[in-house]
Every structure is written in C-alpha cells, then in structure tokens.
C-alpha cells in the first residue's frame, strides 16, 4: 500500500507544480485555460513519475 501512496503523492506534487507553471506561461487566465492546463499538467506529472521509475528501476 505504501508504494501506491508514494506514487500518488509524487504525481500530485508534480501536478500542482506543473499547473502553477502553466498559469505562469499563459497570458489570459479563464476557466477553460484552467481545465486544459490541469489536464496537460496531469499528463506531464504521470510522465515524470514514470520516467523517474524507469530511470531508477535499472
């Protein structure tokens, strides 16, 4: 159970960080930007976690 929680925590951390980065990148902020930004950040967060596991799992 511990591993899944760690994975979820890491993805969540990356997700918040990347959504913040998205909000910095865009010029005008509105509801749709939030939605697209959050989904893009989620995708990037999952990729970040998978990359770390792939790199360390040697």
């Amino acid at each position: 159970m511990g591993r899944a929680a760690a994975v979820a925590a890491e993805v969540l951390a990356w997700w918040l960080l990347l959504t913040g980065a998205w909000l910095v990148l865009i010029s005008t902020v509105d509801a749709l930007e939030y939605l697209v930004g959050a989904s893009a950040a989620l995708l990037a967060a999952v990729a970040a976690q998978a990359a770390r596991r792939a790199m360390s799992g040697r």
Binding site: W14, L25, A40, A44, A47, A51, A54, R58
Partner: protein, 252 residues
C-alpha cells in the same frame, strides 16, 4: 565523367543560376515594401473567424487542405523510415548496455522532462492564439520524451515508450484530421470548411471554430511521428548489430 569535368559543369551551371537569380531579384519588389495583397486578405479572413494567430488560421482554416497534404507527406516519410530501418534477417537485436551518467545530468533530465512536455503542450494548446501550433508543439513534446535517453540510457527510454502505441497515435492524429474534414462535409458545407463550430470570443482558447481541434490533431500526429522516427533511428544506431561481423560491431 571524371571529377574535374564534373567540377566544370557545376561551375558553369552555378554561374548561370547566379546570373539568372540576380537578374530576377532586381525586379522583385523591394525588401520591406508595403504591397502585400494576400496578407491583408488573410488577416481580414482570420479576424472574421475570431482566430488571433493569423498564421495558424492560414494553415488550418484558409489552406487546411494543403496542411492535410503536408500531414500525408509526414505520415508517408515516417512510414518509409519504418520500412527502411526494419531489422533484417542477418541482424540481431542486442540489449543496450546501461550507461553511467553524471548524477546532475540525470537529475536535470528528470526535472526537464515534465517541464519540456508541459511547454510542448502549451505551444500546441495556444496554437491559434500566440506563436506556436501543432507542428512546433508536437516536435517539442517528442524531444521532451527523448530527454530520458539523453539523460539516462536507451533501456530507460524503452520502458516508458511503447512504440506500438505511438504508431497508433500517429495514425489516429491523421485520421482525426480527416474526420474533422469530413464532419465539415456532413455539416452541409465543404470539406475542411470552418463552418462547423461557433467561432467563440476573440483571443480565448475556444475561439477559431475547428482551428484548435485541427491544431490538436496535428500536434498529436507530429509528436507520435517524431517519436516513431527517433525510435527507429535509435534501434538502428544503438541496438541492431549485424550477425556475421559481430566482432567488428563491438568497438566503435
């Protein structure tokens, strides 16, 4: 034809082309001139459809059919590369040896992978607003994935990059572009016509009718196409060895 003779042919041909070019350039409108008839029409057409980035509007709305042709060139080139660089009978696949990489470089690759991915998605999503679009964003996303190869080794990259999925993604991107075109046809107007969706308010993410959707389809296709392309090149350069001269294949 001896090399010297070939040089002469090259010299005379080059000189003739140079003379013709200079003669032609003399009659071209001056650099920085104010006569741009197509430009004004393209800008007014794009503004009529609430697309802020006129270049994306030209690419995905006024000349969407040409971009479909360009997509097919991309798809065909990737198909050709996949066929050309397949593993032949007299070759065997050697699992890549793990490479030692300095820790700071590995950490940099791990941190930059999501940031580059996010930048690529940002460039794709805002294709019809700020500079950028499906092409540029797709290439940035694909390069972001390969930070894992650059930062670590090919084995790590292969773990998170199933090539089959990306080949399907490449085809799905092209298919999505076609489906959007046919949807225009079904919607009662012309193929790839931008009359399907409302144009939305200017300078927002949902503006421009089908332009953002075509942008996303192109972004997905370019990203997957470049990943498949690099996968084939990496396989050939890193993994595939020829069977007979296996000794020759060891050292560089």
């Amino acid at each position: 034809m001896s090399r010297r003779m070939r040089m002469w042919v090259l010299a005379t041909g080059g000189l003739a082309v140079a003379v013709l070019l200079v003669a032609g350039y003399a009659r071209l409108p001056h650099f920085g001139g104010a006569v741009h008839p197509y430009g004004e029409r393209a800008v007014s057409a794009a503004l009529a459809r609430h697309t802020a980035n006129v270049i994306s509007s030209v690419n995905f709305d006024l000349r969407a059919f040409d971009t479909l042709g360009e997509e097919t060139i991309l798809f065909g080139a990737v198909l050709g590369t996949v066929v050309l660089l397949r593993q032949t009978r007299d070759e065997r696949e050697v699992p890549p040896a793990p490479a030692e990489v300095a820790p700071p470089v590995r950490r940099y690759a791990l941190i930059m992978l999501p940031v580059a991915l996010l930048t690529g998605l940002y460039v794709v999503a805002h294709g019809q607003l700020s500079p950028g679009g499906g092409f540029q964003g797709g290439v940035v996303v694909a390069t972001a994935l390969h930070l894992l190869y650059i930062g670590a080794d090919y084995r790590a990259l292969e773990k998170i990059r199933p090539v089959g999925t990306y080949e399907v993604g490449d085809a799905a991107g092209e298919a999505a572009y076609l489906v959007l075109g046919v949807a225009g046809l079904l919607g009662g107007s012309a193929f790839l016509a931008n009359t399907l969706l409302p144009y939305g308010t200017f300078n927002t993410l949902a503006s421009g009718g089908t332009v953002p959707l075509l942008n996303a389809a192109v972004g997905m296709e370019v990203a997957c196409a470049v990943v498949v392309l690099l996968a084939r090149f990496l396989d050939q350069a890193v993994e595939i060895e020829e069977d007979n001269g296996s000794a020759m294949g060891k050292e560089s």
